[in-house]
Amino acid sequence: MTAIYGLYATPDGAQKAFDRLRAAGISENEITVMSSEPLEEYQFGSRDRQTVMPWLAILGAATGLTAAYFLTSLTQKAWAINTGGMPIVSNWTNMIVMFELTMLGAVFATVLTLMKTARLPGRLPKFYDPEISNGKILVGVAAPNARDADIVEGALRSARPEIIKSV
C-alpha cells in the first residue's frame, strides 16, 4: 500500500481530517495535503511557511553584482585604449550594467530556490488524484504501516470525506 487518502469537498472537512489524524497519533510531517488553491487560513494550509528564499535572493543579487563588476571592469581593462588620462574603468556608467545584473541575480536565485524547495520539476506523487483540480482537497498519509492503516482510515472516515482511496 502506497497511501490512504480522503477527498474532501470543503476546507473545513479537510481541517477536521487533519485534526483527527493528528489526534490519532500521526505526526504532521506524515500527513499530505493537496489542493487546487492556497488555503492559508487553515492550519493544514499554513504549514511549511518558513523559507530562506529572501536571503538567497539577496545572495543571488550579490552574486549578480560581483559578476557584473568583473565583467565590466575586466573587459575594459583587457582593452588598453587611449582614454586621454581618464580612468579606463568607468564605474559611473558601469553601474547601470551592475544594477541590471544585480536584479537579475536576485530574480534567478528566487526562481531556483522555488524550484528546489517546491521540488519542481518533479513527478506527480503516486497518490495524486485529478479530482483535486475539481476543487476537492486531498488529505492522506503516505505508506502507513499495517498497524497505522486502520487508524488512518478511521480518522479520515470520521471527517466525512467524499471518498476514501487506498493506492
Binding site: 573587459t75 536584479m103 536576485a106 530574480v107 528566487t110 526562481v111 495524486y128 483540480s133
Partner: protein, 450 residues
C-alpha cells in the same frame, strides 16, 4: 467558495482554452497575414537597403525608433502594474494581473525587435552582445545601446518568469481536465505541480520577492531607453527630466493598452462576470493620475526650454508648437489630456466605453509623443546646415501596422493556450476573508470617487 461556484469559474475560464471557435481561426488568419506582410516588407528593406525608408541625413531615426520606444512603453502596463498591485495587496487585481503581464512579455519582444529592423544588416546584431571580444570590437559599456541590451533582457526574462510561474497551477488544472496530447503538453508545462501547502507558500513567496525586484527593473528600463536620447547633446534631448518623463509616459500608455485589451477580452471571451466595471473604473482613475502627471512633465519640459530661450532648442520648440509638427503636437495634447480628462474625471462618464475611448486616444497620443521626441530634434540640430526633413515611406508604415497585428496575434494565441485570468488567484479572492477585505477596499474606493 462552494464546489459548484468553483467549478463554474474553472469552466468559464478554461472554455477559451479547451474550445476553439471558427472566429478564432479567422482572426488568426487575418493577423498572421498582416504579420507576414510586415516580415516580407522587412525582407524588402533588407534586400534594397535602408534607402527605401524615410530615414535620411540628418534624421536617421524615424518610425522604427518611435515604434521601439512606444512598444517598450506599452510593456510597462503589465508586470509593473501587476507587481505594484500585488505588493499593496489590492484585491481587485486578481482578474487583471495576467492580462497585464502578457502585454509586457509580448510588447517587449516586439519593441526589442525594432532596433534589429532598423539595422541595415540585422545579421550583425549579435555584435551588440557585450562579451569580452575576440573580434577586435571593444564592448563599450559607456554606450546607452549596451545598457538597453542589459535592461531590456533583464526585464524580459524577469517578466516571462513572473508570468509563467503563477501559471503552473493553472497548467496543472488543464492537465487534470484533458486527455491525449493536451494532457501530455500541459503535464510537461505544469512541471509536476500538485498543490501541497509547501508549494503554495514557496510560489507566493517567490512572487512577492519578484514583485519587489521587478518594480525597480521596470523603472530602470524606460529610464535607460530615455538615456538613448538624453545622453546625446541634441536640442531638447539633453535633459535631466527625460528619465521620469519617459517612465510616466510608459506607465500611462501601458494602462491605456491594458484597458483596451481587457475590454476586447471581456467582449470576445465572454468574461463579463470577471472583468467588472470596477476594474475599468480603477484603471481609469490610475490612467487619469498618469494623464495629469504626463501633462505636468510636458509643461515642465516646455516651460524650461522656453524660459532658457536657447536658439537651438527654440528651433525645435517652435517647430512643434506652431511649425511643421504643430498639428501632431496638438493632436497629442488632445489625445493624452483633453479627451481623457473629462471622460475619466466625471464619475457619471467613467463607463467601460468611455475608458476605452480615452485609452484609444492615449495610445495614439503616446505614439505621437514618441515620434515628436525623436524626429523634430533630429531635423533641427544645432547648426542650420544639418537641418532636414523626415517623411515616412510605405515600408515603415507597413511594419508599424504589422507590429500591432503581431501583438494581437501573440495575445490571441496566448489566450488560446493559457487561461488569460489566473484561475487559482481568482479562487483565493473568493475566500471569505478575502471577500471581506475586498468589500472594505471597494467601499473605500467608492468613498473617494469624484
Amino acid at each position: 467558495m462552494n464546489l459548484e461556484t468553483d467549478n463554474r469559474l474553472t469552466e468559464d475560464l478554461l472554455r477559451p482554452v479547451l474550445h476553439t471557435t471558427r472566429r478564432f481561426y479567422v482572426a488568426v488568419a487575418v493577423f498572421s497575414s498582416i504579420v507576414l506582410c510586415g516580415i516580407a516588407t522587412w525582407g524588402y528593406q533588407i534586400y534594397n537597403g535602408m534607402g527605401v525608408t524615410g530615414d535620411n541625413w540628418p534624421v536617421f531615426w524615424g518610425f522604427h525608433e518611435t515604434n521601439f520606444v512606444f512598444w517598450i512603453g506599452i510593456s510597462h502596463a503589465g508586470t509593473l502594474i501587476s507587481a505594484i498591485l500585488r505588493i499593496v495587496n489590492a484585491t481587485w487585481r486578481r482578474p487583471v494581473t495576467r492580462c497585464a503581464e502578457v502585454i509586457t512579455a509580448f510588447a517587449l519582444m516586439i519593441g526589442a525587435l525594432f532596433p534589429l529592423v532598423h539595422l541595415g544588416r540585422p545579421w550583425l546584431a549579435w555584435w551588440l552582445i557585450p562579451y569580452p571580444s575576440e573580434r577586435g570590437i571593444w564592448p563599450n559599456y559607456r554606450s546607452p545601446l549596451v545598457w538597453d541590451f542589459f535592461a531590456i533582457n533583464t526585464y524580459l526574462l524577469s517578466s516571462l518568469l513572473f508570468l509563467i510561474l503563477p501559471a503552473l497551477p493553472d497548467f496543472a488544472l488543464i492537465r487534470d481536465r484533458t486527455t491525449g496530447w493536451r494532457n501530455r503538453v500541459y503535464g510537461f508545462l505544469s512541471l509536476g505541480w500538485h498543490g501541497t501547502p509547501k508549494q503554495w507558500h514557496r510560489l507566493e513567496s517567490a512572487m512577492h520577492i519578484m514583485a519587489l525586484a521587478i518594480i525597480p527593473i521596470a523603472i530602470s528600463v524606460h529610464t535607460i531607453v530615455s538615456f538613448d536620447f538624453s545622453m546625446a547633446v541634441v536640442p531638447m534631448w539633453h535633459s535631466t527630466i527625460f528619465g521620469p518623463y519617459f517612465v510616466a509616459g510608459a506607465i500611462f500608455s501601458g494602462i491605456a493598452a491594458l484597458i483596451i485589451v481587457m475590454a476586447l477580452l471581456r467582449k470576445l471571451l465572454h468574461l463579463e462576470a470577471y472583468l467588472l466595471p470596477l476594474h475599468f473604473q480603477n484603471l481609469g482613475k490610475l490612467m487619469l493620475t498618469m494623464s495629469l502627471l504626463w501633462g505636468y512633465f510636458v509643461f515642465n519640459e516646455r516651460l524650461t526650454t522656453w524660459y532658457g530661450n536657447s536658439p537651438h532648442e527654440m528651433n525645435v520648440f517652435w517647430s512643434t508648437q506652431n511649425g511643421k509638427y504643430a498639428p501632431l503636437f496638438w493632436t497629442m495634447v488632445i489625445c493624452n489630456f483633453v479627451i481623457p480628462f473629462p471622460l475619466l474625471t466625471i464619475k457619471r462618464l467613467r463607463s467601460i466605453t468611455a475608458t476605452v475611448i480615452a485609452s484609444c486616444g492615449v495610445v495614439v497620443g503616446m505614439w505621437l509623443e514618441r515620434f515628436l521626441i525623436i524626429v523634430p530634434s533630429l531635423s533641427r540640430k544645432a547648426t542650420s546646415y544639418s537641418w532636414g526633413a523626415y517623411t515616412p515611406q510605405w515600408p515603415e508604415i507597413v511594419i508599424l501596422c504589422s507590429s500591432f497585428a503581431a501583438m494581437a496575434l501573440l495575445y490571441l494565441l496566448f489566450s488560446k493556450f493559457i487561461p488569460i485570468i489566473s484561475i487559482w488567484e481568482l479562487k483565493v479572492g473568493q475566500h471569505p476573508q478575502m471577500k471581506a477585505a475586498a468589500e472594505v477596499q471597494d467601499a473605500e474606493a467608492a468613498g473617494e470617487l469624484i
